[in-house]
């Protein structure tokens, strides 16, 4: 069964460092997303990406965040200068279009720890 894959599974970084989280969405999907989950809290929307551009972003997704689809398969989230409060599990998701099938397919997440 096709799946969304994410790397790394866990990254530890120092505050102020740049981090890139990588995702390979399901190959025929068109919509890509990043969500995050701070430990013990709800899953929060960060950004959606369609047709090679951001289609929507949340207030969390400020100037330190960026997304890119550098080739036909990868979808990356970059955090330019990490802060302690960026520590969270970051989930990539993809979908083939809503609402016909509707559901998001999530990766297993990348845990980011900022020290």
């Amino acid at each position: 069964e096709p799946e969304v894959t994410q790397t790394p599974s866990h990254q530890v970084t120092q505050m102020g460092q740049e981090v890139i989280l990588r995702c390979v969405p399901i190959s025929n999907h068109l919509y890509f997303y990043w969500y995050r989950q701070i430990l013990g809290q709800k899953v929060e929307f960060l950004v959606s990406f369609y047709n090679n551009e951001i289609s929507e972003k949340s207030e969390i997704f400020d100037d330190q965040f960026s997304v890119e689809r550098p080739d036909g398969s990868n979808f990356t989230l970059k955090i330019r200068s990490t802060k302690l409060e960026d520590s969270a599990m970051y989930f990539c998701a993809s979908s083939d279009g809503v609402p016909n099938t509707g559901e998001l397919f999530f990766g297993e997440g990348s845990r980011l720890t900022v020290l």
Partner: protein
Amino acid sequence: AQSVAQPEDQVNVAEGNPLTVKCTYSVSGNPYLFWYVQYPNRGLQFLLKYITGDNLVKGSYGFEAEFNKSQTSFHLKKPSALVSDSALYFCAVITYGGFNKFYFGSGTKLNVKP
């Protein structure tokens, strides 16, 4: 604004008993409702969805959910719980045209005891 509420942080049930995990929503248009499950250190897995049609939706692993428009609810149910159902369950909503953003509830931890 769209929102989802899961009023219970935790639900405890004995194996073999029926379970219910509650979800209520608030949206400005017609809702599309979803349930996801998260096992420890794993991503979210889709369980079921309501888009239109029959209010009772059946999904994976024997789960079902009932859409109740008047009560703005979408409770998740299972007639007979298994220990392996123990996990974190998230309700989520989007609206037609709002395909970019899923609003998730805060999650409900389901504990099924043998």
